[in-house]
C-alpha cells in the first residue's frame, strides 16, 4: 500500500538502507527477535550494530513524545479513565506497558458501589458498560493518585465527577492536593441543577462547571470530557475554552442499550449503558475534528482506537494525545502494539515527530 521510504538515519548510517521493516502490527507476535537475528546473521562482524540496534531502528527517527498542557509524555497514548485505573499500581503499570499518561477512574465526594452485574459485556466489535461510576471516594482516591504521581514515570490525570458545580469544585479542590498533571472533569454525568441533564450536553452546563472548578484550582490544568451525544460538540468545546478550560477530552462513551433476546431482558442490569470499542471509532473521529475546528485547546482524543493507524487518524483529526481504553480488552498489550504501529506508520510516511502527522 505504502511505498517504503527508508528513514533518514538508515540512509546516513553504514547499514544498507533498503529493507522492509520486519515487524508490522499484523506480525506483532514475531516481535523484535527475527530482526535481531537477521542482523546478527547478516553482520556478524559488526557487533556494534547490535548494541546500536534500538538507536538506529526505533529511538532515533520516529519520536513519539508529545507535550500536553505542559506535561511531557513519551508517547501520545493516554490510558482512558475508568479502564484498569482503580489504584496507583494499575496507573503505574499502564506507564510500564507504554502509555504516555494515565487517567484515574473517576471519583466523587463519597464512595459509590456502582451498578450491579452484568455491568460490562463484550461483543464482536464493541463493548457496552454501565459500571456506574463505582469509586472509593475522593479522600481514598487522593492517596492513590498522590502515590501514582510520585512513583509512575508518566503524568497522571485525575478524573472526577459530581452532580453540581459546587460539588465539582469541592471534589477538585481535594484531588488537587495530590498534584496530578491534569484534572479531568467527567461532565457526562447528570447535573441536579439542570433537571438531571448532563453538564456536557449544553454550553451553559459545561461553562458553569468549568467556571466553578477554575475558581478552586489555578495551578493545575483542567480538561473537560465531552459527550458525543449532542448536535453541537464543537460549540460546547468553544464555550468550554471561553469559560477557562485548558484541555478537552473527547469522546465519552456513546449512550447505548443491548437486549439479550433469549433472556428477553436488557443485557445490562442498569438497562442503559455506554458504547465503546472499534464500532465507535469513526464517530469519535468526527467529534474530535469538530472540536478542533472550533477551538484551539489541546485535545485528548479517543474512542475505539485500537491500532497505530487509528491513533494516527485521531491525531490527524486534531487530537494532541490519544486515549486508549477498550482496546485493552482484545489486546492486553495494546499500548505496546499501538506505539509500535504508530512508529511504523511514521517511518513509512517519513514523519519524524508526532506534530508531523497532519492531513494534507
Amino acid at each position: 500500500m505504502f511505498k517504503y521510504l527508508p528513514p533518514r538515519s538508515l540512509i546516513s548510517s553504514p547499514l544498507p538502507p533498503k529493507r522492509n521493516f520486519p515487524f508490522t502490527p499484523l506480525q506483532k507476535k514475531k516481535s523484535l527477535l527475527p530482526l535481531l537475528s537477521h542482523f546478527i546473521f547478516l553482520y556478524p562482524a559488526h557487533a556494534s550494530y547490535i548494541s546500536n540496534f534500538g538507536h538506529i531502528n526505533i529511538g532515533n527517527m520516529a519520536n513519539l513524545s508529545v507535550k500536553l498542557c505542559g506535561a511531557r509524555m513519551k508517547s501520545p497514548l493516554v490510558l482512558a479513565s475508568g479502564i484498569r485505573s482503580n489504584n496507583a499500581a494499575l496507573l503505574i503499570r499502564a506507564g510500564e506497558e507504554g502509555a504516555g499518561a494515565a487517567t484515574s477512574k473517576s471519583c466523587s465526594l463519597i464512595a459509590r458501589e456502582g451498578h450491579k452485574n452484568p455491568s460490562a459485556i463484550e461483543y464482536d466489535s464493541y463493548m457496552i458498560n454501565a459500571i456506574g461510576l463505582s469509586n472509593p471516594g475522593v479522600e481514598i482516591e487522593k492517596k492513590e493518585i498522590a502515590y501514582a504521581v510520585k512513583n509512575a514515570k508518566i503524568p497522571i490525570i485525575a478524573s472526577v465527577y459530581e452532580n453540581s458545580p459546587q460539588n465539582f469544585a469541592k471534589v477538585v479542590k481535594i484531588i488537587s492536593e495530590a498534584k496530578p498533571a491534569i484534572i479531568e472533569l467527567d461532565a457526562s454525568c447528570p447535573n441536579v441543577h439542570q433537571e438531571g441533564k448532563m453538564f456536557s450536553s449544553s454550553c451553559e452546563g459545561a461553562s458553569e462547571v468549568i467556571k466553578a472548578v477554575k475558581r478552586q484550582v489555578k495551578n493545575i490544568p483542567v480538561s473537560i470530557k465531552l459527550s458525543p451525544n449532542v448536535p453541537n460538540i464543537g460549540e460546547i468545546a468553544k464555550e468550554s475554552q471561553r469559560a477557562g478550560a485548558d484541555c478537552i477530552t473527547a469522546i465519552n462513551t456513546i449512550p447505548a442499550m443491548m437486549i439479550d433476546v433469549y433472556a428477553r431482558a436488557p443485557a445490562l442490569s442498569n438497562k442503559y449503558g455506554g458504547l465503546s470499542g472499534p464500532a465507535i471509532f469513526p464517530a469519535a473521529l468526527r467529534c474530535v475534528n469538530e472540536i478542533r475546528n472550533s477551538c484551539t485547546l489541546p485535545i485528548i482524543g479517543g474512542g475505539g482506537v485500537g491500532s497505530g493507524e487509528d491513533a494516527a487518524a485521531m491525531l490527524m483529526a486534531g487530537a494532541n494525545a490519544v486515549s486508549v481504553g477498550t482496546a485493552l480488552w482484545k489486546n492486553p498489550n495494546a499500548f505496546r502494539d499501538i506505539n509500535l504501529g504508530l512508529e511504523n506508520y511514521m517511518k513509512k510516511m517519513n514523519f519524524e515527530k508526532i506534530s508531523d502527522i497532519k492531513m494534507k
Partner: protein, 252 residues
C-alpha cells in the same frame, strides 16, 4: 459474543453449601478458568468451572444471586459468558491438589484432565466439617476437617506437611481461602516446590477492562485467576486486602 445459553441437566447437592450444576453444553475451557454466570433478574457472578464437557459449575450459596443459581432445576436456563482467565499450568508428572471448601471444584477438573494426560495425582480436600467436604477426585485423596468429623482433624496443612515430607511432588495446585493459600505457598517456597494458586477477587467485567479485581497491579481476571505462589507472596495485598464494590481496600 455476549451471553450463551446453558440449560440445567442436573442439579446435585454436593455438600451442605455447594450445588453441582451440570449443563447441556460444552465449552472450550481449561481447568482454572472461569465464566461469568447470569440469571436474569439477579446479579451476574464469576464462577469457576468444575468441568468443561459437559459444562459443570459448583455453586456455593454465598450471596443472593448464587443462592438463586444453586436452586435452579432441570431445564432452567443460565446465561454464560467466557471462558475467561489463565488456566492452571502444572509442571512435571506428580501433582498435588490442595483445596479448601468449594475451592476444590476447579482442582477436581484439573485432576481429571491430568489423569488423562498420565499425571500422578494426589489431592488434599479440606473443609470445616464432614457435611462441607467436596467429593473426591481421581487419584489418591486425603481429607481434613476443622472439627475432625471426617479425615484428619485440622486444616489442609495438617495433611500437607507430612505428605510433602514423605513424597516427591513436581508441583502443588491450590485453591481455597486466601489465608490458607498463603500458608500453602509459604510452605511450598520453603520446600522449593513450584506452586500455583487461584486468587478470587470481586469482578465486574471479567475481561480486563474495569479493574475491579485488582490485587495491586495484578488483575485476577486476565493475569489470573491462577498465579505462581512466589509471585503471589511478593504482592503485598495477597492474603491481606481486597477491594469492595466501591473499590475501597478492605481486610480479608
Amino acid at each position: 459474543m455476549g451471553h450463551i445459553i446453558a440449560k440445567v441437566e442436573k442439579n446435585e447437592q454436593e455438600t451442605a453449601q455447594v450445588s453441582l450444576l451440570t449443563f447441556n453444553i460444552s465449552i472450550p475451557a481449561k481447568p482454572g478458568q472461569f465464566v461469568m454466570a447470569w440469571l436474569p433478574g439477579a446479579e451476574e457472578k464469576p464462577m469457576s468451572i468444575a468441568n468443561a464437557s459437559p459444562l459443570q459449575i459448583a455453586i456455593a450459596d454465598a450471596g443472593q444471586a448464587s443462592k438463586k443459581m444453586a436452586e435452579m432445576k432441570k431445564g432452567e436456563t443460565l446465561f454464560i459468558r467466557g471462558p475467561y482467565g489463565k488456566p492452571f499450568s502444572p509442571k512435571g508428572k506428580n501433582w498435588l491438589m490442595v483445596g479448601g471448601g468449594y475451592g476444590f471444584a476447579p482442582l477436581r477438573f484439573l485432576a481429571k484432565e491430568g489423569i488423562k494426560k498420565g499425571a500422578n495425582i494426589q489431592s488434599i480436600i479440606g473443609a470445616r466439617s464432614k457435611k462441607f467436604l467436596m467429593q473426591e477426585a481421581p487419584g489418591k485423596n486425603y481429607f481434613t476437617t476443622d472439627d475432625g468429623s471426617a479425615g484428619e482433624k485440622g486444616n489442609v496443612m495438617a495433611a500437607l506437611e507430612p505428605l510433602l515430607k514423605k513424597g516427591k511432588f513436581d508441583c502443588i495446585c491450590c485453591c481455597g481461602p486466601e489465608k490458607m493459600m498463603r500458608a500453602v505457598a509459604l510452605l511450598a517456597k520453603k520446600m522449593k516446590i513450584p506452586c500455583q494458586l487461584s486468587v478470587e477477587r470481586y469482578m465486574k467485567c471479567g475481561f480486563g477492562i474495569c479493574g475491579h479485581c485488582a490485587m495491586g497491579g495484578w488483575l485476577s481476571c486476565i493475569d489470573g485467576p491462577t498465579i505462581e505462589g512466589e509471585e503471589a507472596l511478593k504482592n503485598p495485598h495477597f492474603g491481606t486486602l481486597a477491594c469492595d464494590r466501591a473499590g475501597k481496600h478492605v481486610k480479608l
